[in-house]
Subunit: 431 residues, 4 copies
Amino acid sequence: MDYKIDTGLVAEHNAKLQGDLDADYAALGGMLARRGQDIEQITTLAQTFAVALPSWGVGTGGTRFARFPGLGEPRNVQEKLDDCAVINQLTRATPAVSLHFPWDKPSDPSALRAQAAALGLHFDLVNSNTFQDQAGQAHTYKFGSLTANGAAAREQAVAHNIDCIELGRALGSKGLTVWVGDGANFPGQSNLRGALERYLDSMKSIYKALPDDWQVFIEHKLFEPAFYATTIADWGTSFACATELGPKAKCLVDLGHHAPNTNIEMIVARLAQFGKLGGFHFNDSKYGDDDLDSGSINPFQLFLVFNELADAAQREGAAFKPSYMLDQSHNVTDPIESLMSSASEVQRAFVQSALVNRLELAAHQESNDVLPAAQALKRAFRTDVSAILAMARARSGGAIDPVACYRTAGYRAKAAVARPAKAGASGSGIV
Amino acid sequence: MDYKIDTGLVAEHNAKLQGDLDADYAALGGMLARRGQDIEQITTLAQTFAVALPSWGVGTGGTRFARFPGLGEPRNVQEKLDDCAVINQLTRATPAVSLHFPWDKPSDPSALRAQAAALGLHFDLVNSNTFQDQAGQAHTYKFGSLTANGAAAREQAVAHNIDCIELGRALGSKGLTVWVGDGANFPGQSNLRGALERYLDSMKSIYKALPDDWQVFIEHKLFEPAFYATTIADWGTSFACATELGPKAKCLVDLGHHAPNTNIEMIVARLAQFGKLGGFHFNDSKYGDDDLDSGSINPFQLFLVFNELADAAQREGAAFKPSYMLDQSHNVTDPIESLMSSASEVQRAFVQSALVNRLELAAHQESNDVLPAAQALKRAFRTDVSAILAMARARSGGAIDPVACYRTAGYRAKAAVARPAKAGASGSGIV
Amino acid sequence: MDYKIDTGLVAEHNAKLQGDLDADYAALGGMLARRGQDIEQITTLAQTFAVALPSWGVGTGGTRFARFPGLGEPRNVQEKLDDCAVINQLTRATPAVSLHFPWDKPSDPSALRAQAAALGLHFDLVNSNTFQDQAGQAHTYKFGSLTANGAAAREQAVAHNIDCIELGRALGSKGLTVWVGDGANFPGQSNLRGALERYLDSMKSIYKALPDDWQVFIEHKLFEPAFYATTIADWGTSFACATELGPKAKCLVDLGHHAPNTNIEMIVARLAQFGKLGGFHFNDSKYGDDDLDSGSINPFQLFLVFNELADAAQREGAAFKPSYMLDQSHNVTDPIESLMSSASEVQRAFVQSALVNRLELAAHQESNDVLPAAQALKRAFRTDVSAILAMARARSGGAIDPVACYRTAGYRAKAAVARPAKAGASGSGIV
Amino acid sequence: MDYKIDTGLVAEHNAKLQGDLDADYAALGGMLARRGQDIEQITTLAQTFAVALPSWGVGTGGTRFARFPGLGEPRNVQEKLDDCAVINQLTRATPAVSLHFPWDKPSDPSALRAQAAALGLHFDLVNSNTFQDQAGQAHTYKFGSLTANGAAAREQAVAHNIDCIELGRALGSKGLTVWVGDGANFPGQSNLRGALERYLDSMKSIYKALPDDWQVFIEHKLFEPAFYATTIADWGTSFACATELGPKAKCLVDLGHHAPNTNIEMIVARLAQFGKLGGFHFNDSKYGDDDLDSGSINPFQLFLVFNELADAAQREGAAFKPSYMLDQSHNVTDPIESLMSSASEVQRAFVQSALVNRLELAAHQESNDVLPAAQALKRAFRTDVSAILAMARARSGGAIDPVACYRTAGYRAKAAVARPAKAGASGSGIV
């Protein structure tokens, strides 16, 4: 494997921490044993966890007010893959990358696929982009893409999505995520029903182009960039459209795309029940689509989402395989560090959800014994499974403390030299 | 007709105001004519408008902290009908009453039906109640009704709903609205998916009991009385359930039952598009299910809802007939006055939406000329159609100014004498 | 001490669990030692924690839709004290009770004080009630109390608050919490500025009646029972009023009384900075003033509040002594169990906040090293301090597992016999 | 005056519409007279209304996802002034321009002042910018500006604000608006209290540099660009800071900068009561800081804000002079058209608020007669004052229908030729 960080350095890092980890792991194992749980089973399960990386996540994000670039940002898809490889090398939880076209469009798809394979990576869902105009584009998306009033813009957007499928096929992907920013900033700007009719028409054309073993994922979002009405604003619309399109169409849940106070774990339960839960974009938020690091604001909510996933997995068995991806905007941290840390937070929720004694929980629910039912979840959530996560990484060949190891390796400093910053101000000037 | 207010008094009231109304009407007619619109057509349309009254709305409402009763509150369903009759006599916009069982359960349904007919009223949708325990009830709904873990409570709730259908049939109703408060106050209290599965099972039994010409309406609500998770929390769940149940099942939209910032008019458009828009509970809100008077907080939103209804009516034709009901809690006003005024506000939005030039609007939308499209709606909304509403009332036999006429008639003072208040504090003590 | 649960039974309960607890405690102690922290110091600190109980919290709560009573609910203030005594006996974290007048008005204050002392309890802040009308009350609060337009209602409300102070003085309290539901349900109902002017006038009269060693706490709330505008709606208003009143006036923060998405821990930081942080009503919420069990919905937020309190304590020293009270509505659980469990959750956040290495945190902040700064908090929050809490209870004479011990003792079953339920339906009928 | 649109063309435009306007005006005058109101008084008042234009508002806005430029966008501050002049020429309601530095930094301030004067414009508040890094800037604002941990960044930000004052002085401004995006994206990133202490220190330095006849306005905002905690997040913080700084410091209310469900008009009332209402940034929003056109989403809220301003004006007299500015992002409309239309919407709310019979309103409030009190506001809001606004414009020399006149003049098409677009994609690539 073409490891980006010296494996000797990782081994040395682990060697220093192994003693304390063993002690913590034994202490936790004892606690779990006293509750009747086997830490080894949990650790083995933890090692199976994987969440995809978004190619765009390794660059520094920003807002309409400004972007403050970091050092050594990747300048092309090849460098993005390098960064993703570091994350997976150290966490062993992120073997797949989700590309975004045209941002990451390779001139030579098979070369890119080979690079990924050499890095121990493969390609997950591909993402289309019809929320921006590209240089030289024939028809603007200013007033919509898949929902545009003008047939030419719609057809262009459909064709781009079909191109993404073709490209994804060449790269080994099995699905397409469609997010459109289409909507309206004014009451009256758009016929709300007409826009969804056009959306469905466009999506039917895309759906037809799906290979047999592909799926298409509809991503909803309450607002931004449209500020009065977004065509695919909520899970209800996403679900109705996925139903209308057919079995290959599913719904994708981004944790930051909901109205305030929404019970997101219940949406997960609903979509699972009705067979339309396609996957997730993980992040956290306090106000809107803040794209903050997963679990940084409301870790209990992330746990509750995984509690529903554990319930669905128990009901559906191996057939239940939603896609997981991190989708965050790293404005004030090193993106590689945030992605390593976030992969671990999502994995943490996955592991904690496995600690829930589902039989006991069901019994309390059945007898309407509310407090013990609630505490069955809280007890699992409260368990500090850090030692399990670290042991899982170590056993899979990763780093016990990925961020510390990465810092020791000096990867960012080397990238800063190899990838010099472009001149220019950080102000976006878009307000 | 068994008018509750002397018709001579109404005539006298109108006579005093007719001169000014005629002048205002002529002035408005001129303005509309200069825009190419015929006021007479609009007034004729206004006269067709009707919104049902909820029987519980004529009593004073309250909160968990307190209820501050008014004078002369109706003590039984017969007195409630009397109050409803006054509202319809003066507004000519509320000929139907929606009953709530067991609160309004008549010992003699045919006598109640006869009373209603004599008052010029008929019965709209009936409402079941499984969110409270009634004295002597065999199984509590503390932990759920249609979704309860216990089969006995579920069956009791189903049987009650079927009783409501029977009763409604005897009263001439054609539909049942089902709202359940079922849900959970703690994560873990309830299996979210299991609860909805039980709900669907229960609803299927109720659905089977529907007469051929009946419909059942599913009402969703984000929260209260359940404060962590509500089984039917959003339109997506309502829609999925109505779809699963069949063509007689539709969704009911209460304007106050949504997450903050939700675009409600878009939900209306979605349900209309997918053939599941059953009806409305009209009210207004600023924070939660505040049950404030319709149009008192955000009148433009009410207009935008009717704008979608006008769009749907144009597309669907006469087949498009959603149910309209006021659903408000009158805590600080005379309920009769609030209901008269609110009926007029909903009628106002209906009339304003008829002023939208839909051809012109569509043309602006088609050409992405956003500002004129937005202004086409704003112009209709801004039009002060008070004179049209008053003229429609006067021509239909109602009062030009219903609240003023009602005050002049001294109806409340007489009710205060005829219906003496029960002793006791106003504090509910439920906190 | 007049223990309500046999101390032998508690000892027996503890004896069974002590072995596992010792093992868990040793395991956790080892983990903390490897991080450089001394578990004994933390446990000693945990033993100092106290949060007051609200007298009304030991009864079952409800909503405007219904109240579903539990068995053996306390029927008077004496029985409420008995229930509070059980909670403190088992948790050793709730030695104070906060009374509410007139609900808990004793005929003989000194007898009540003696009962409390015998039970190992004392009285914390007293609470006035001008959000309900009491039987025989001269002037209604339907349209306001301290802000009422009518001078008579205002004076009555002021007099009641002064009575509360007198009563509190006799009971050994040192402060008065003033919450008013005053506000408006309609734009125009109230002159927003006039209402606050009258509030300040009323509060000045109450302030004057404060004994030298008393404080008055202003509690704000966004909405409910007023649904358009609440006179004391936010911390800004509370702060401005407390500033205007003088040094004995402080602000009280109820975690459920804020607009969606509000950063509550920042409000805590602001009030601490400006010297006006009086105290807390602890609970949790997802939608509005849901009054759910503390830490049941967003435990990280509770931790972040205590992180600010730890920061303030470090800055202000011993002078920094905000009041802590639980304020929850227990609709589906045994109130005693919920209060025991919630006291423990608040104590947990307090203990976790003590695990934050504030020097390390400050260093990361100073160097803008964001991720390690964030992780310093997350690491403390993640630590499962359950063994510390249990050990603190055991060492202070309480139960290792309060809920289990309480269930074993059969307290509720005995109360159900001793305190038979009143007849009558559970439906509040207030909608 | 250096009019940008031929005055003959405006006259011709008006001549065509004058007949219909006269008829509408007479019709409305009659309606108002029948209510006891004199249209001429209102029109005269309308002519006094003015709201400032933000220099940045005449360019097309965007989001972090994309910016879709329009044709003929102004390329420098001189061209921005030209566009502003057109808006004021046609609306006669926007004689002042608010500049933003360094975006609009003139090389020759006196030349710019002369240009403005020739165009009939003057300069309102100036705005500083420390939310972006500028090319060549010594210290980054990535981790804060006025609140930065590093003294060098703080001093740089203070110095920039003092430069803005100097520049504003040269341009004839009398005030500085300070908005900082400073805050944190992670719990722990920043010491919440420390950040505000540093803010206050920085602001004290800026305050000291204010000329005697200047004011400084503190603008708060809930979130964006900071997504966990914003240092100046709410009116409470803004108020506490303005109080600490002194009498020249006031609070500025941007309508889109509040938590969901916030009652903004009550904040206006509070700030007016406590003497700290400095001014407004007008816009509308549905979700966050959407910066939509004023009155396009919730026109009744805008009216209610002006209702509070009318109340304050009645209480305070001529001394009450808050600053008004439009602050919108025009993403899908011609910015000039949106600004003309929005100026008119704000003016509309001002005029409608003048129609409220404040004596009658106070009487209803005093007697707790809620419904008529509410209707006194609704009646004023419902009044379609379009004819008054058009007549005020015509009498002041503007256009009866500014947007139509502007379109007839072909200003944008000419600008598109004179100001060719820069090459390049519209995608911001900041996500």
